[in-house]
Amino acid sequence: MGKKKTPAINSSSTADIAFLLLCYFLMTTTMGSQTGLSRRLPPMPDPNQKAEDQKVNRRNIIIVKINSADRLLAGNEPMDISLLKDKVKEFFTNPLDDPNLPEKKMTDIEGFGQYPVSQGVISLQNDRGTSYHAYIAVQNELVKAVNELRDDFSYKNYGKPFARLTEEQQEIVKKAIPQNISEAEPKDVSKR
């Protein structure tokens, strides 16, 4: 009497249930590949602070302007975007110690020693009518220039590209070749 076996539960439908769940997750989630260009905005200037303090020596600044027609002006000359990277690299390295290019300051970097760090700053200015596409393209070129300089430095001193250095070494390289891109105060250029 008591020997009756309970019938096994048919498990073939678990696959269907799992498929349903799978479909649910496929619909509601996104593949996580979010990439972009990281930037740090300058803090809002103190209204009490005098503007003179922020004056940087003229030779240390390169002004990159993008107008409303997405044309580029770098260091007072119109330029195609493909040439911008080399211009910026030359600006930062200043191989011939040109007095019109930024000065270098011997800085003591912890764990590395003395290194002439360029004092150059890129000032990026744009019009309200500039397209975002052009703006990102220029930002990208600037980052590319800095990244290539960092790679050069890494190869010279550690024999490895920047991405494969240890964290401390990366910090040293970042100090030796800073990424000084200043996104200037918006100016109303189009005012007539």
Binding site: L22, T29, T35, P42, M44, R128, Y132, I136, P186
Partner: protein, 156 residues
């Protein structure tokens, strides 16, 4: 006698057991659960991200808040027009609302994580810089200085 049988063999091919099918599907399920993340907001603006080759990965997704800028999608165009608009969370907002949005996002994070908060600007590539400059100025005023311009990785 032989394996290949004669004409007399009546052996039936055993059916493929489907018991492990659910395991396979569950494995797929777990893969997707781990690699994807919940879509937290519905997109109300069309965003076609610009391309860039030097992009870096966003490190902490949970510490980022998104500012979407672009043209409203078709169903909202009758109401909001085709001009570029800002979308925060689930609704269209203006630049003045960014302050409250940032404050709320900051509030939701733990004390230690607040300094790492990143504001991700997710803008369409055809947007004019005017609106983005306004957003940036507002972010500076709220001292949310860590930002990221979202971009696709360009194919070489």
């Amino acid at each position: 006698m032989s394996k290949f049988g004669g004409s007399n063999s009546k052996k039936e091919v055993p059916g493929v057991s489907s018991g492990s099918l659910s395991d396979i599907v569950f494995m797929l399920l777990f893969f997707f659960m781990v690699t994807t993340q919940m879509r937290e907001t519905e997109n109300k603006v069309i965003v076609k991200m610009p391309e860039a080759s030097e992009v870096t990965k966003l490190e902490r997704k949970d510490l980022s808040s998104y500012v979407n800028i672009g043209t409203p999608t078709r169903q909202y165009q009758a109401q909001y027009g085709t001009d570029a608009r800002i979308q925060l969370n689930d609704s269209f907002k203006t630049t003045e609302d960014i302050r409250d949005f940032i404050a709320a996002e900051r509030e939701s994070l733990s004390e230690a994580d607040r300094q790492f908060m990143t504001t991700v600007i997710r803008a369409d590539e055809d947007v004019r810089m005017g609106i983005i400059t306004d957003v940036k100025q507002e972010l500076r005023r709220c001292s949310a200085l860590k930002i990221m311009y979202m971009a696709r990785k360009a194919e070489q």
